[in-house]
Symmetry: C2
Subunit: 348 residues, 2 copies
């Protein structure tokens, strides 16, 4: 049987629309996997997501709108309804590809269809209790560094990004840029420190995830000229933002799990200066597409040698490793191996 | 087959120990049902609760301590592990008696054992989405007034209370008493208003559920004499508290679902003045064991005629309607009817 005829259920979260209108990292990846599989000729892909989601696959949903977009919903009510409804239909599929964290695992004992779970993050160490309770299933990590040593992973599949809204800019802009979630984890305050030391303008963009952090550590430094916050950016605004970029500063204070921002920036030809924590080392080719640093001083020095980076190499690095097509080819290999393992298991 | 040989799984929440050390309403009821069934000669009762729970039935648990008592836990992680583990063992039982809200319902499609869910409360209207999605199962309401019109209830079974720590006091104390969760819903501020208008002392007890409410509406009225807050009370302290009571004020601002406080007070012989909202009318015999009122003025008038209430009648009303034995006999009838319905269903 042609593997591309296998019936695959992609389980997306219901926090946001799939794909999301603006923010919504897991929904973005679930959408990219779904659309990528369809584009590569898979014939029986079903996306389980909010009812207003948009896909070229078959869409099935029970929740009208994402619970982050319609606050009348209790998140757990929508979550458990969505997940349990998918679980009730697993017999219609050859594989459930779970992109919705740990709750689906608790239904594993009741279903016969194999499940592949992409672990998009460990939001809290305590959620490992559920993962560790379910080792007889299939996991994918989104970077080698984001692995928990006690889980049986089939593979790492890097997130792939949609290049259609990321115009390659051969010529650098004249500003430093920092974008993503505004949160201590992402080191927005360090980006400000670096910009001041380099005496360069800084553009900050993204949703404010921690208002207290923003009010105390970011807002006092903002002005309407050298250090500006421009709010969240959709893909079009992000493309315009990256046009302004001399370099992107991503001075994360905790290990990055994957780092979509790094890949997006390089796709536009913009070198990235990132902390050498977590997966940054896997996404950036140090010295070729940006610089890995350990502190603010090294970041300032890295800004001084950005002109040594070939912006074409940044783009190429993404095209070869971090496109949706790369990701989907990665998942195709994982699916193939999983089906082989299942066939061998059933022989016994 | 003797119905008392049926294998019953009582599913308790894991927010607190079962029975709870202090607060924990649903765990209290689950414990009372479990111990009551054992006391009435049921031979195969299994309590699913935290591992440190205490029961004369068989105890099975996976969560060491309640997530409200050990804040390192993510509540949903403990909740979904606990529930799914119970669901994996349902084939060992003839009936699952769910006292842990709506999440267990989402596993109903995967189990063959019938489930009876006591709905202890609708914490938010949105949770009705899950209940309405599962109408082919069995529900019990804890008062007639706490019913949702679209759900198929088998019966109302009033909560039963443990009389062992509720000493009957034939002689009234000289203070007004208000206890329970300190929250706007329970009308602590109205109790203060009534006490002041009656020029009587007021003792307030219970956990502070809404700190802002307490700080703004309660604390400013406290002194060390006429209006005192004495903190949470365990059963022993509650018994001592009720000894002081001339009457208990329960001026709830929203419909009461059942009202354990009403039953406890009457058990000690203390008449209750309660708002005529929700189940209060079902628990209090108006004019015989207390008074139903509609506002502060009526409550003040009710205090003036408390001496017309026969405290022996208060106690007897509880003994006849709201003991653990009453509750368990109620559930025995429900179980019996449920098993009959299942037998008829299986005949078809």
């Amino acid at each position: 049987m042609d593997i591309k005829s296998k019936r695959i259920a992609i389980l997306s979260p219901v926090a946001w629309r799939t794909p999301p209108r603006a923010y919504g990292a897991w929904e973005t990846v679930a959408s990219n996997i779904t659309e990528g599989l369809v584009a590569r000729g898979w014939k029986n892909i079903t996306l389980f997501a909010t009812k207003e989601s948009v896909t070229k696959a078959k869409l099935v949903g029970w929740i009208e709108r994402g619970y982050e977009e319609d606050k009348s919903q209790i998140p757990l009510v929508s979550t458990c309804l969505h997940i349990s409804k998918v679980m009730e239909r697993t017999h219609e599929f050859d594989l459930i590809h779970n992109n919705f964290d740990y709750l689906p695992l608790t239904y594993l004992s009741f279903i016969k269809t194999p499940m592949l779970t992409t672990i998009h993050g460990f939001s809290d160490p305590d959620i490992l209790r559920v993962y560790h309770d379910h080792k007889d299933t299939y996991y994918v990590s989104i970077s080698d560094s984001d692995r928990n040593k006690d889980l049986p992973y089939l593979a790492t599949v890097y997130n792939g990004i949609d290049l259609s809204n990321l115009t390659f800019r051969p010529n650098p802009g004249d500003k430093l840029v920092h974008y993503g979630r505004i949160h201590l984890d992402k080191g927005t305050h360090l980006a400000i420190e670096v910009a001041k030391k380099c005496d360069m303008d800084l553009l900050i963009a993204g949703i404010i995830q921690d208002q207290q952090y923003f009010d105390n550590f970011i807002k006092p430094h903002l002005n309407n000229s050298s250090i500006q916050y421009i709010g969240p950016v959709n893909p079009t605004a992000r493309d315009a933002l990256l046009k302004e970029a001399y370099a992107v500063l991503h001075l994360n204070t905790i290990p990055e799990r994957f780092g979509l921002v790094l890949a997006e920036s390089m796709a536009a030809g913009v070198p990235v200066i990132a902390m050498d924590l977590g997966s940054c080392r896997e996404v950036i080719a140090d010295g070729k597409t940006g610089y890995l640093v350990n502190n603010v001083q090294e970041a300032v020095e890295a800004v001084a040698k950005i002109d040594k980076i070939d912006r074409r190499k940044c783009r190429r690095h993404v095209e070869e490793n971090f496109t949706i097509d790369c990701m989907v080819r990665g998942y195709e290999k994982v699916y193939e191996r999983l089906f082989q393992m299942e066939a061998e298991k059933n022989k016994k």
